[in-house]
Each structure stands twice: as C-alpha cells, then as structure tokens.
C-alpha cells in the first residue's frame, strides 16, 4: 500500500517537532557574555569618502603647487598680494621665546608626559 506523501511529510514534521531542539549548557549565554564584557562595542566600519588613489592624486597636486609657489621665485599673484613680512616677524618672536631655557624645559616635559600617557593607555588596552 502506498502512503500519502503529504501525510508522510506531516508525520515527519510532527516527529521532528516532538524530538525538539538540543540545548547547550545552562550557563552558555552567561559564559559568552563574560567573554564579550571586557571588549568594546563592535566597530562600525564606514566607507572612506576618497579612495587611496584619489588621496594620492590630491596630495601630489597640492604638494606640487606648493613647491612651485615656494621655489619658482615668481612674484606674480592672481589674487591680492600677501604681505609675508608679518610671518617673518612671528617666526622670529617664536624663535626668541624658544631660546628661553625655562620655556623649552616646560614644552619638552609636557610633550614627554603626553606621549607617555598615550603609550600607557595603549599598553593597558592591549593587556
């Protein structure tokens, strides 16, 4: 006697449902969450605005313009002329300030502390 396929299907379905799913150990979720707890939230991976080639292109373009402007010796300007003598005054005053040993010591120790703090933070996160 041939059995009805839909009945067979129903019977298999009923039997499998009856057998039920297997369960992992009781503390499965808590163990997993303990493993995740010290970690930071998953990183959101964003799409960069420019790709690598575009970044290289713009960097080299601006770089070449800058170098041309710096070394061409041309005094011709498209826009209003800039008075760069003020820049020179500012540079010499900074040089004067830096020549003070006390200020130089403060700057060096400040930078050292900043770098040390960054380094320690990274070491703590890696541990």
């Amino acid at each position: 006697m041939k059995s009805n396929p839909s009945n067979e299907e129903d019977a298999v379905k009923r039997m499998l449902k009856e057998a039920g799913l297997e369960s992992p150990s009781r503390d499965f979720t808590s163990n997993l969450m303990q493993m995740l707890a010290p970690e930071a939230k998953p990183k959101f991976i964003g799409q960069p605005v420019f790709n690598k080639n575009q970044v290289y292109f713009f960097t080299s373009l601006f770089g070449s313009f800058f170098l041309y402007a710096l070394f061409s010796g041309s005094t011709y300007a498209i826009g209003p002329k800039l008075d760069l003598s003020k820049v020179g005054e500012l540079t010499s005053s900074i040089q004067h300030l830096l020549s003070s040993p006390l200020l130089l010591a403060v700057l060096i120790s400040g930078c050292s502390l900043y770098i040390l703090d960054k380094w320690m933070n990274r070491a703590v996160h890696q541990a």
Partner: protein, 191 residues
C-alpha cells in the same frame, strides 16, 4: 519569552548596548547548537563551535547587512565552523547506508512497543536523525524545525537549491525507513 525582531537587538548592540546581544544569543542558541551537534555529533565540540560562531557574529555585526536574515547569516557561520572542525578532527561518521539490519538490535519488538513512552519515542527520533548524513540531518532540522525555505538552507550550506531538495527527500525517506523499523505500529498510528 517572546522575542523581538533580530534587527532591534542588532541596532541596540551597535549603539553600545552589549547586553542586548544576550537576548539575540538566547533567541538563536538552541537551533545554532542543534545545527552544530548534527554535524559534529559531540556536545562539547558543538558547544565550542556555537560559542565561537556567536563571538564571530558579534565582532562582524558592524559588517552585517540587513538584506539577509541574521539567523541565516549566523547558521552559515555555525555550519562553516562545524565543517572546519570536522576537517580538523577527521571524524569518521557512520551513515545510515553503512548499516545492515543486523546492526539494529530489535530485541522483543512486541515487548518494546508495549512499553513505549513519549520519552523513548523522542530518543528513537534523535537516534534516527543521528543515522542520517550530517548535511541531511541539518537540512531536515532547518526545514522542519525552523520551517526555513530551501533557498535559505542552500545559502547556509552552500549547496544548490535542487541539491537541498534531493537531500531533503532522501533524508525524509531514510527517517521513515528507520522509524518504521523502530516504531512499527506507532508510526502506522500517526500516519
């Protein structure tokens, strides 16, 4: 417990609420574990695979695109991890085809059927599933227990849709043959 849509939990996790992931884990852990267990046939390995799969899924949650179902994506990770584990262990599993009738000890069938209880029936069904090949066991589990369409199963296993249908049909037949042997009168009653 009634669970919300997976995307609700995913958004919370991505916003920094790590605890929301526990709900996502509770929602899917049983089927994920069952899929792993059907493959490796060892509870410890299956638990390790399931745990690793959830960890991998957590770390890659930012890359998860909403166009696919989270469950399909997760079970694919579980399936692939189980395949890798099996390759490492070089497990030799018995398939139902390797069995002869002599392998099954029926004993006194009359007596056995008389004392049939739901618990025993459950054990027989699990035993029957274990007799199937790994892929067949997974396909039949996902199709009947999760009521997943064959297209989604094909996405998880990497098999073609037609192949999934063939394996599903074959698994159903094998289950019936095995259970008919084991539950003779019981099965007739159900059908």
């Amino acid at each position: 417990m009634k669970y919300l849509d997976d995307h609700v939990y995913i958004e919370k996790v991505l916003a920094g609420n790590v605890q929301a992931y526990a709900l996502l884990v509770n929602k899917h852990k049983s089927l994920a574990f069952t899929v792993a267990l059907r493959m490796v046939r060892n509870r410890e390995d299956a638990e390790e695979i399931t745990q690793d799969a959830f960890l991998k899924a957590y770390h890659a949650l930012g890359e998860f695109k909403g166009d696919a179902k989270f469950s399909t994506w997760l079970y694919r990770i579980v399936y692939n991890s189980a395949v890798n584990k099996m390759r490492k262990n070089v497990l030799i599993t018995e398939s139902y085809n390797d069995h002869t009738d002599d392998d099954v000890n029926f004993g006194n069938q009359e007596e056995e059927l008389k004392n049939f209880h739901a618990k025993e029936r459950k054990l027989y069904i699990k035993e029957a599933i274990d007799k199937l090949e790994e892929e067949e066991a997974i396909i039949i589990t996902l199709f009947y227990m999760e009521e997943m369409p064959t297209a989604a199963i094909s996405e998880i296993t990497g098999l073609t849709n037609a192949n999934v249908r063939v394996k599903l049909h074959r698994a159903r037949k094998k289950l019936q043959v095995f259970l008919q042997q084991r539950l003779n009168s019981e099965l007739k009653e159900i059908m």
